[in-house]
Amino acid sequence: MAHKGHFPSGDFCIVGAHESPRRRAPGIHPFQIHAEVIAEALADAGLTLEDVDGFATAASFPSEAGWQLNAVEVAEYVGIRPTWICNTDNGGAAALAHVGNAVAAIQAGLCSVVVVSYASSGRSWPLAAPDFNSGQTGPGQYEVPFGMSTISAHALAAQRYMHDFGLTSEQLAKIAVQMRSNAANNPHAMFREALTVEQVLSSAMISTPLHKLDCCVVSDSGGAIVVTAKDRARDTRRGGPVVLGYGEALGQIQMNQMADMTTTAARHSGARALQTAGVTIGDIRLGQIYDSFTITVALTLDALGFAPRGEVGGFIDDGGITPGGRLTLNTDGGGLSSNHSGRRGIYALIEAVRQLRGEGPGVQVANPDLCLVHGTGGWLSATATLILGAQQ
């Protein structure tokens, strides 16, 4: 269904952004990382905590140290007294959804300066958590007792895409290899050493057809951005990229409810983002796309329409994600090589801001005017897509 209302394309800016350089932080509570990245993002914007009247975060894993009222908990810890909070949790899409929600809230007059932050000790948190997206209650009681894990959920999608369209493990491996190459110059990337297709294919098989190196890194980190209206952005230190378009969509969460495992809700969130921005997929040459696994990227490239339906394998073989090719992708090394502590959307968003400012730490595109950012949450469950434009 198309938006009936008018999205305020270009009226809101991201005026501050900061990604924690932390990747391994044993003994550090995630709220400490929230405070660190919020301070840095506000300093980047030339604002102080007193300017902040809106706050958004999502945390419901033990490694995020957030429980039911997590936005309230983090706001209390950091000392924010917002007039608007947002606790929307669609997983890896959450930070993008928070930007969409922040635009709506500021437009409605509920607040004026919104901080979106995220932090998680995905690697080092001492409390064990089962690797299941939903518990064994309610809908999950028909799936979790069979051992459906995060990687297995994605492996099932990979198997079916391979069956339907002939995608190969080599083509998936090329995604991991390209992300590693993009990370080579990023001083904070978790892994920077060159990687080969052979190394990916010979890494441990976890859940067929996905190998260990088809999976993202597991880090401890965090990030924050600051969103405000364009008129207010003029008072900030640097201004910032503008929000041109936004879309969100839901798929499923139990894998037995996913009607077609070869595509995701990105089809809908992407179409809405492009439509609200008034651009087409052909205009997009730079993207930050959620890469929890190599297959996540492949499905999303297909769903967003970068590759013709079913042809993402050929798209990769033809250099479709090589820098300077059809789509320069995950320029900091993405989740596959740089940073993935949990809900990675925030890092994709921050890298988009860095690219549009000409400050990418990995591969910097020359003077980009547009960047697509895409978050995928849960198990190919919920998506959000943003189109950002260079500062006007």
Binding site: P130, Y142, G147, S152, R160, H163, S207, L210
Partner: protein
Amino acid sequence: MIEMTSVLPVKDETSEPWFAALNEGRLLIQRDPVSGKAQFYPRARVAGHPDRLPEWTEASGRGTLYSFTVVERTVHPQFRAMAPFVLALVDLEEGVRMTSWIVDVQLKDLRCDMPLKVVFREVHPGQILPCFTVA
């Protein structure tokens, strides 16, 4: 008290009949009494029509393999000792998809869309679950 890390189903009023039928070697699904459309997983109401109560019906147990993954490594202690196992999504001929295991099949013979039939196995001690094998 059920441990947070347990994988055993926490049964409820809706799921009790489904699990009870498994112990009798029967696989139940639900139907919308108005449209006749099958529904899985079981719910208290018809998905998309919360004003309707679904009806239980016995599935034939025949289906096809929509997708599968051989789980070779897992961090979860309750599954580590079971690996490798074949986690699958199975399309029942009634038109619903369910999560299951494929058992008694050579791994090299696994193919998407292969015909399957239900078998009932004690996957966890005391817990019979519907699994599938070659039809």
